[in-house]
Structures are given as C-alpha cells and as structure tokens.
C-alpha cells in the first residue's frame, strides 16, 4: 500500500476523536520476500504481506492503547473503542500528551528505491545461491553453509494525530546473510557474513562470503586462554552492539525513571576524550535512517557525548515535556506499542587510524570478533557487564592464535573512560547503531 493510502486511514481514525480527547493513529504495511537456500536448493521461499494499526487515546490525563493486525474498517472502529476503554484505567499524568508540530522540517532522504520492486523472484533466489556457492568455494575447510538467505522488504507507514501531526513515508531494504561451518581435525567453528542495501544492486556477495569464511576459519584451533587483564579491540560488529546498550542508558525515559547510570552526569567527563557519540537518523548512510520519528516529528542530529563530555539525553514528547524541554525527535516504536525513547542511528565519530595500525600498537591484547549473552550479561542500570567472547590474541602488534570460551567483563562506566582509541573504519550495520574498531584498555578476560 502507498503511504498516502495509509495516511488516509490514519486521518479517518483521528477524525473519529471526541471532544476533550487526543487520538493518535499509526498505520503500517509491509511486503517481504525471504529466500533460504541449502546445498544448492531452495529450502524455503516466503512471501508475506502484513499490516497493522496502533491507536493511542489520551483523555482526562490518562492514556490507553490498542493495536490490531488488520486494517479492516470494523477492526479500526473496535481498536479505537478498546484504546478509549483502556484509557479509563490508567493513572493520570499531567505530562501525557501527543506530539505537536514543532516546525522542524524533515530531512530529504532517498530511502525508497523503486528498483527493488522490479527485481524478479528468480534473481533473488540466484543471489542467495550465488552467496552459498561463494562461501563454499572460499576455503577448503568450509564444510557447510548452515543457511544462506536473501531477504527484502518494502514498507510504508503513516501517523496522524488530533494535535495536527501528519507524517507518512516508505522505504525499501534488502539483505544477504550466510552462516558458515568450518571444520578441521574434528573441530567445528562458525562464522557469518552479510551485506545490506536499499536495492539488490547495493548487495556485495563477495564481501559477505569472504567475511563468513574468514570468521569461521580463523577460529579453527581456538583454545581457552588463562584469565588476565588485557587490552581488548572490539570489532565493528561488536562495538555496535555495545554502543546500542550505552545509547539506551542515555534515553530520557531511563533518566526520568531513575534507571540511568548517567542521570546526574550532564556536563561531566563520562568518557575518554576520543569519544564523540552522535545519534543521527538524518544520515543517509545509516541503514536505519528515517525522516520522521515514532510520533511523526522530523528526525534530527543529536550529539550525546562530545569529546567525552556528556551533552544531552534523548527525548520523545512525554519525556521532553516532563523534563522541562522538548522532544529531540527520538520516539521509537512499531505500530503494536506506544512510543518509547531510543537511538535511531547511533555512531561514534571515527578516529584517524585504521584497525591494522591500532593493532600494531598493542603488545598484549585480544581482538574480539563475537560476543554472546549480551541480553543476560549486561545490566544497563548498574552498568555491570560480562559477556561470552571469541576472537584472536594480539601479540607484539600482530594478530596471533584464536581464543574461545572466554568472557570479557568491566562496567559500562569504566569502559567508556578506558577507550584508548577509535578506529577510522566506521561501518553502518543492519541495526540502529554503526560499528567502528574500538580499543579499550584494562578489561578482565576470564578463561581457564
């Protein structure tokens, strides 16, 4: 469906609003294709169309919400009635309120590539098969490809409110991803590689395949090292995941509700001087770039940490109002939830030196190429973190033997202060943060 059609539905719902109540309607539609191949055959091919609506009602200072997975007329009416009824049972809060137009113009972004719609299913299958072949051919020690996938999505959404918000847009995206199995001497290791873009022409099969091969094969022969404190070098894919967690601690919601370890630290030096952290969904390079936030306000560039100094928290309309300011255009949501606050396209400002040069300056360290258990091992409230990790030892400035079954542990507070260098290799990933090689001193590596 086209954004205009969705906006028309959202406006229709908002038109049903009664005197004294605020109504917000978020309507989304997407069409997705996903191909998975295995051993030269199509394992599965899914074609899917989905849509949904989320309706928020604020009346008498109370908020209610309901959502549904269809756009049928009777369902829209039912969903609004349900949201209205839910609002009766919430606690009153003087800061509840929908977003209001704030005069900020949305950025012009080229997120919708018609070319994606013209690509045949045949050619999508071919990309996945080509990827699987490239991984298999990459190294004789590759014994299997657990999965090689091509996927794409065409999405459109619209938001309308009784407070005058009207926003709609559409975008396209596609990806290739492969999980490889490498084996030698009865030992198996895994690796992954991917490529993302707005149209299939953006996808780079060779890089995705080479990453999947290298990540698996270079782990062959890995052993568990003894416990020690070392300098760790986080690979961009790993640093992006940590940045995402740090970004979460800078949300206005966490701050207002006493769950942010940086709540009283505005203006303080919370990180090494090399750290400048920016959330910028207006950056067209970002995979998660967007012209409007989850409440229909224009997105904008927000610098959170500058030269290590904490400068700003992110806000949606509610947290902005409650903290005495305004939204920073940072409402995040799907149609099935009310808006939260979060980063949309977070990145560190890259440094001057490439990863190889940074590694050359380290006598004793570990290059971490993968972490596991982030959801169980990082507590964003206390800041304690401890995650499973694997990677390569760094000895006298060179990459050495692979290590596995280790954990790396510190606190988020310490880690930011212990950043020794930021690499020059900023890489946008299929998540709401970008990766860059990051050198962190004094991290405990637990092993044997």
């Amino acid at each position: 469906m086209k954004p205009e059609e969705l906006l028309e539905i959202a406006e229709r719902i908002v038109g049903w609003g009664r005197d004294g109540e605020q109504v917000e309607a978020v309507v989304g539609h997407s069409r997705e294709t996903e191909v998975r191949v295995y051993e030269g055959e199509i394992e599965s091919l899914s074609v899917a169309e989905s849509q949904g609506v989320g309706i928020r009602v604020i009346a008498n200072g109370r908020q209610g919400f309901a959502h549904a997975g269809t756009l049928d007329g009777d369902v829209l009416v039912e969903t609004l009635a349900e949201a209205r009824d839910n609002a009766v049972f919430g606690s009153p809060d003087e800061f509840f309120g929908l977003a209001e137009p704030d005069g900020v113009a949305p950025p012009e972004l080229d997120l919708y590539h018609e070319a994606l719609l013209e690509v045949s299913t045949e050619s999508k299958i071919d990309r996945a098969l080509e990827l699987e072949r490239a991984v298999r051919a990459g190294d004789p020690r590759i014994v299997g490809v657990e999965s090689a996938d091509y996927g794409d999505s065409v999405g459109a959404d619209a938001i309308a409110t009784t407070t005058g918000i009207r926003s709609s847009g559409q975008d396209t995206s596609c990806y290739l991803t492969a999980y490889s199995l490498a084996s030698e001497n009865d030992e198996t290791q895994t690796g992954f590689g991917f490529s993302v873009g707005r149209e299939p022409g953006d996808l780079d099969v060779d890089t995705a395949a080479a990453d999947a091969v290298e990540r698996a094969t270079r782990m062959l022969g890995a052993t568990q090292p003894p416990t020690e404190r070392v300098t760790v070098v986080l690979d961009p894919f790993v640093s992006a995941q940590f940045l995402g967690i740090i970004g979460g601690t800078l949300s206005g919601e966490a701050v207002l509700k006493g769950r942010s370890l940086f709540a009283d630290r505005l203006g303080d030096q919370v990180a090494a001087a090399a750290v400048t952290l920016v959330d910028d969904p207006t950056n067209p390079e970002a995979f998660t770039a967007s012209d409007a936030d989850g409440e229909g306000l224009a997105t904008r560039r927000n610098q959170l940490i500058g030269g290590g100094r904490l400068e700003r928290f992110l806000h949606n309309s509610y947290t902005g109002r409650r903290s005495g300011g305004a939204s920073t255009g940072s409402a995040v949501r799907g149609y099935a939830s009310t808006p939260g606050v979060g980063c949309q396209a977070l990145s560190l400002v890259p440094g001057a030196r490439p990863p190889a040069e940074l590694i050359a300056g380290i006598d004793n360290g570990v290059l971490v190429q993968g972490v596991s258990g982030l959801h169980s091992g990082v507590n964003p409230v206390s800041g304690d973190f401890s995650t499973g990790a694997e990677g390569l030892r760094i000895r006298n400035g060179e990459l050495a033997e692979p290590v596995r079954e280790i954990t790396i542990a510190s606190t988020l507070q310490r880690m930011l202060l212990d950043v020794a260098a930021v690499g020059s290799d900023l890489t946008w990933l299929p998540m709401s943060s970008a990766g860059v090689t990051l050198v962190v001193a004094e991290v405990t590596m637990s092993g044997a």
Binding site: F89, G144, S147
Partner: protein
C-alpha cells in the same frame, strides 16, 4: 475458526499445480497487558491479530505465504502464492480426507482472563508496587507488568490432519531498582503459567514483589564476581536454562541435520553422568511451555532426550521427521501465523537426583552458588554457551558466602554435561522463559534439582 470445507478448498488450491504436501495454519490471538512504572499505571494495551500461514512442499523446497484475510478468497490467494513460491511441479497429490486429532489439554483453564475486569488486573499492579517499596527504603523504582494472551489455532494438512488448540497464558513480572553506596542494582521476578486468572490464587503479587526487591537489595552488598574457572553449584529450579542452552538446542533435529550441532551422530553414546536424565515435555501440566497440539497439528509429547547419561533421541518437527521416515515428536512450533514452524523445545528439565542438596554445597570447597539464572545463548555448532547469573553467591569452605554481582558464566555443552558430578533430590521448575531461535520467540519452561558442575568459567572482574 473457519469452515472445514474452506480448509479443504484451500489445501486443494495449494496443491493444484503439484506438490507433495500442503498445510494451512490459522491463528487468532488476543492479548492484554497493563504496565505500572514510576508509581503510575502507565497504560493498558489490547492487541488482536488473526491470520493464516500456508505452506506447500515440493521436493526439498517449502513455499510459504501468509495473509490476514481469512475469507475463502483471501486464503485461496495465499495458497496460490505459497504454491508459486514452492515452484510447483512434481506429481499431483490429492488432499486426504481430514481426520480430526484430539489431544488432551495439559491442564484446565478456570478463569479466562478476558472475563476479568480490567480494574481487577490493574489493582494487582498497585499492590506489587506497594509491597516492593515497603521492602526497603533503598528501593527507588518499581515496574510491574501483568499480561495475558489467548491463542486459538487450527492446523490442517493434505495428509488429512485436522487439529486445533486453545492456548491461554497469564504472566506477572516485577522489576526493582535499589540504590546504595555502590550504585544502582536491579532485581527481577516473574511467574507465568498456561492458565487463566487463577494464577493469582496460587501466587500473591506482594510476595513476588518482595522477592524482586530483595534480589536488588541483596546485590547492593554484592562484591565483584570472581574471574576464571571453578566449581559451580546451581540451585533448584533456577538452573534449567543451563540445560536448555548446554544441550537442548543442540538436540534439535533441524540443526543436527545441517551438521550444526556438536551432538550430531552421538545417539546411543554416554554423554553425561549416569544419573543425568534430560526430558522435554510439552504435556507438563501448568508449565509455561505446555500445549495440547503443536503448530503442525501434532499432539505434545514427553520426550526423553538423555536417559541415565545416554543420548537417546533428538527433537523433531514434521518436515525433518518426514525425511527420516519417522513421526514428529510434537516439537514443531512457530511464533505466529507469519512464521514457518521449526524444531523448538517446550518444558526442558533435568530429572531429580538422589543427593542431599545441603551435602552438595558442603562438599564444595570454593566455588559459586547460582540461585537464579538469567537468559543464555549457545552456538550449537561449537557447543559454547553462556548464561547470566541473576542471583549468585560465593561458596567458601562448604558454605554459601557473600553475594556476588551479575555476570555471565561460559561453558561448553558436552564438557559441562560430562562435568556434572552431583545431582540433588530437590527438583523444581523455574521461571517462565521466552526462547529465541532464528528470530522467532516461543514460551518455554525449564527445571533442575540442585547440581554441581566440576568447572565452569565465571566472567567476573575480581581476581
């Protein structure tokens, strides 16, 4: 939910251009939740989704399409899309006469949540908030969530299977923040069962809230976790996730078939201590991962995976089982009608042992006692897994000592199985969980008695 004649028509449409197997999965899901945070009932949310997923299998290829349009025409359109995706071809197969499969529900549901007044649900939240804050002045923030869901499904396939299930789940969770000289700490507790509002006859929300609050308060005094390898004792109920990660995932037939499991080709081998028996049981009454019928129309089963230390079988879904010419084990599950089913666990637990739990702790000179585990993650191909410690203590000279701060433990599945050296006689099931695999989340349960693993790596920061 839809007429049998429409089901048959849809299956026929799906096989019109060829194919060996077709399936219609219809789902109607209603959910409601209420969230209290920061002293206020922030919102009540209601959700409704319904739709159908249709798959067609031709040779090695599965074609899949889904739709939220449950009309005869809408289903036929999705059936043609799934057939086209499967590329059709092969012989023309007929739809066998549908034969309804009935399976007993794991338990009764007494009070359907949809019949309970919203005000009654909201009232629970306020009680939890009060009880948590009363647990200590250091408790500075509380959030409590009530959630219920009802999922009705209908599955029919061209082999003649017709089955349905009505799955109700109710859950309550509390999380607290405590602030002290050492900074902020968090505590969490949740309960959930495949039952209705009678959940709250069994559990007092006040008590749950106090447990969550006390976890946060205890951690204020916690010292940094040690780093390095040492013996680990896991408390009853709190440790099932260890086996979910250490070997459960590795026993899923889809991963085994793709050579992505360290347990491949090991059926019949002694993989653990002779007292270790691991079971996955979807029929377990009142446990979070239970159901009558799986998402492929197969009744849930009790499957013994490891018996007396010997690996006996993997878990199976329909497609993987068909290839092997055997029956599914009732483990074919999917997150929603928008997803393809795959092999998933249900309630996975380590059966009771024979030792006195106090004796297991007393026989441990120095180590870590984990009372409550958090989530985990595994790489099934290497067997390396991690899980979080939500509540843990040092063991010093055979006694449980001071609390330690949160962190992950890391181990290797086959090594940990082989390293189990003591099993207690105090079996208990743990908290309700959500298991994620290939982007799909499904409810699962787990359980263990007290047990000791000879050595695992603790991911702390202390020497």
């Amino acid at each position: 939910m839809i007429d049998e004649s429409v089901v048959v028509g849809t299956l026929s449409e799906a096989l019109k251009t060829g194919g060996e197997f077709a399936e219609v999965f219809v789902e109607d899901r209603r959910s409601s939740s209420a969230l209290l945070d920061d002293g206020k009932v922030e919102e009540l949310t209601s959700g409704r989704t319904r739709g159908a997923g249709i798959r067609v299998v031709v040779g090695e290829t599965t074609g899949f399409a889904h739709t939220s349009d449950l009309s005869e025409a809408g289903l036929a359109k999705a059936a043609r899309a799934a057939a086209a995706a499967a590329r059709s071809g092969g012989g023309v197969h007929r739809v066998a006469a549908l034969d309804r499969i009935d399976a007993p529900a794991p338990n009764e549901v007494e009070v359907l949540p949809e019949t309970v007044a919203k005000a009654t649900k909201v009232e629970l939240l306020g009680r939890a908030d009060e009880a948590a804050r009363a647990a200590g002045s250091a408790i500075t923030q509380v959030s409590a969530r009530y959630a219920d869901g009802r999922r009705r499904i209908l599955v029919a396939n061209s082999d003649g299977v017709l089955a349905g299930d009505d799955q109700v789940r109710t859950r309550f969770a509390v999380s607290c923040v405590a602030v002290g000289d050492t900074g902020m700490q968090t505590g969490f507790e949740s309960v959930g069962r495949p039952i209705g509002f009678e959940l709250f006859d069994e559990y007092e929300v006040d008590a749950l809230a106090r447990t969550a609050a006390n976890r946060a308060l205890t951690k204020l005094a916690a010292q940094p976790a040690p780093s390095g390898s040492m013996p680990v004792v896991i408390g009853p109920g709190g440790g099932g996730v260890l086996f979910h990660e250490a070997c459960g995932h590795g026993l899923e037939a889809d991963l085994v078939a793709k050579q992505a499991s360290v347990f491949r080709n090991r059926v019949g081998e002694q993989v653990a201590h002779p007292e270790v028996t691991l079971i996955d049981d979807g029929t377990m009454a009142r446990e979070w991962g239970a159901y009558a019928i799986d998402d492929e129309g197969r009744p849930a089963q009790r499957n013994v995976l490891i018996e007396n230390g010997v690996l006996t079988d993997y878990m199976w879904d329909l497609l993987r089982a068909r290839k092997q010419g055997r029956e599914s084990s009732g483990n074919g599950r999917r997150q929603s009608y928008q997803h393809l089913p795959m092999v998933r666990m249900t309630n996975t637990y380590l059966a009771n042992g024979s030792e006195d739990p106090a004796g297991i702790i007393a026989a441990t000179d120095r180590g870590v006692y984990v009372a409550h585990l958090g989530g985990g993650q595994v790489n099934t191909a290497t067997g390396d897994f991690v899980f979080g410690m939500n509540e843990a203590y040092l063991i010093e000279n055979g006694r449980i000592g001071p609390p330690i701060r949160e962190g992950n433990l890391i181990g290797n599945g086959p090594e940990v199985l082989a390293g189990i050296e003591a099993l207690g006689n105090d079996f208990a099931m743990g908290s309700p969980g959500t298991c994620g695999k290939d982007g799909q989340g499904v409810p699962v349960g787990d359980g263990t008695p007290t047990l000791r693993v000879a050595s695992m790596t603790i991911g702390g920061t202390a020497a």
